[in-house]
């Protein structure tokens, strides 16, 4: 008899058991998938196929409930794929490959950390806040107050939450780097985690470097296979041999901020 080979990746169809519209174009889906919830760690993503689309859509996992066997994904409607994803409802099944990629490095729960989310980069920080609890300081940045999401959830885990909006319509007027710098000035933090647009990640990387604080960033890129075979989702990484083109799906999506080549 042949030995049964354990495969690292799986693809399956899973039921959607919850759906919410969090703000204008932002939706949350709760999916029942024991295979994924039992393995997933914060910062990983799932790769979702939709009828009529040749490419899967990578969406980060925003929370993981191992007891309920569920994961939650939160996404913004940006193109035809996410539009179709937003039309799925409770009772529909969803075609997922996952969990994929490398998650954030989790330190001891007693460590003090800062979690930074920008716009639709905020959701993965929900799983991180749930892990670190009140040792987490959560900074979220949005364009304006209509885009603000997940603040009630963050407050359930930690009293230390900060909202920034570009136009000042809610919270601090300005960018996430303002409260970040205030915090780093005041006390020691063991790690900063960030997910959001590239200019924000770059600014966060600069500030954390100045304060000599370790920082991990979650990068985004258009993907093909999602597992490192097709080589389309590039990210430039500094190595001892110069700049190397790594891949967000397999080498990331989480990278050490000091390794990322931010210019170009």
């Amino acid at each position: 008899m042949k030995e049964r080979i354990e495969m690292k990746y799986t693809q399956g169809f899973y039921p959607i058991i919850g759906k919410e519209n969090l703000s204008r174009d932002i939706f949350s889906l709760t999916i029942c998938c024991h295979e994924i919830s039992s393995l997933a760690v914060p910062g990983q993503f799932v790769h979702i196929a939709l009828p009529g689309h040749s490419l899967r859509r990578p969406i980060s996992i925003s929370s993981i409930d191992r007891e309920a066997h569920t994961i939650r994904i939160i996404f913004a409607v940006k193109g035809t794929g996410t539009k179709d994803l937003s039309c799925l409802n409770v009772g529909n099944t969803i075609d997922i490959v996952g969990p994929l990629g490398n998650g954030f490095t989790l330190l001891g729960k007693d460590k003090k950390v800062i979690l930074i989310g920008g716009g639709i980069g905020t959701p993965p920080m929900a799983a991180m806040a749930s892990y670190y609890g009140e040792n987490a300081h959560v900074i979220s940045g949005f364009r304006d107050k209509t885009m603000v999401i997940l603040q009630d959830e963050f407050k359930r885990y930690t009293p230390n939450t900060y909202v920034c909006t570009e136009d000042g319509s809610e919270g601090i007027k300005g960018f996430v780097t303002m409260p970040l710098e205030e915090l780093l000035k005041k006390e020691h933090f063991d790690m900063v985690y960030a997910c959001g647009p590239i200019p924000m990640l770059k600014a966060v990387a600069q500030v954390t470097e100045r304060y000599d604080t370790p920082c991990e960033v979650s990068m985004e890129q258009h993907m093909g296979c999602g597992i490192g075979a097709c080589l389309v989702c590039t990210c430039k990484i500094k190595t001892e041999h110069g700049i190397d083109f790594r891949h967000v799906c397999k080498n990331g999506p989480v990278f050490d901020a000091r390794e990322v080549e931010w210019n170009g």
């Binding site: 196929a49 040749s54 700049i243």
Partner: protein
Amino acid sequence: MADLNVNILGHDFKNPVIMSSGVFGYGREYEEFFPLEALGGMATKGTTLHKRNGSEGKRITETPSGLLFSVGLQNPGIDYYIENELPNLLTKNTNILTNVAASDKEEYLQIIDKLEQTDAPIIELNISCPNLSGEPYGVSCSSTEMITRAVRERTKKPLTVKLSPNVGNIGEIAKAAEAGGADAVSLINAISGMKIDINTRRPFLRNNHGGFSGAAIFPIALRMVWEAANAVDIPVLGIGGISSSEDALQMIMAGASCVEVGCAIFKDPYAPIKIINEIDQWCDDHGVKDINELIGAVEPW
């Protein structure tokens, strides 16, 4: 259980489904979904003389029923391949087609000379990459024949030449490869295509254009495979937008001895396995005992 074995390029392919070059790396990733020995074969990532970092920035975008792809042949180079990937692939109990790409004849020959010292069983000569600068050899009959002959003279290994669809006379090009000494032709490579973001007025791909692949190109690929198969006596490997067993069987009936499955695997990681199983089932359902009966079996009007 029909007999799905096809013998081409001096080797038995246990079934006619090969993973095509460019979507499958060196097999290490998709091997985490299914064992490679389930496949008739696999073509490696296009490998060049030296390591290449590939194109800048965004390399993929979706189009209706297809996608545009511009990796720019990122690969670790032939020496790395020979040292680290080929030995692993040779343990996988499937036919390995080493896909070779270069921008000039000298580079091709240097790669071939290196491969000649190895146990790499089959060479797939890519003369049609849509994402290298300069005109690929595959766009004219004379350069196709010249490069095929030059490589033929340097290798005893079975050689299939991967042809470009960006030509008006695919039958003549296939004949040129045959005249140059190819043991088979593989076609089609991706069609050159483009997509523009009207809000930024920029092409989606940093390379401006890329290779257009996916289900959308299947009818074009099928017509070209049919023309090429009618033009040459050597076997044809049919490639281009195959995403189901029906597509694969159409290709075989058009004259392909084997098919190569490409980006269908992005949507369904088990696509090649399903295609193999469904071909088998179809043959059983239709009283076909040997897949070879179907090669070129189309009855044109």
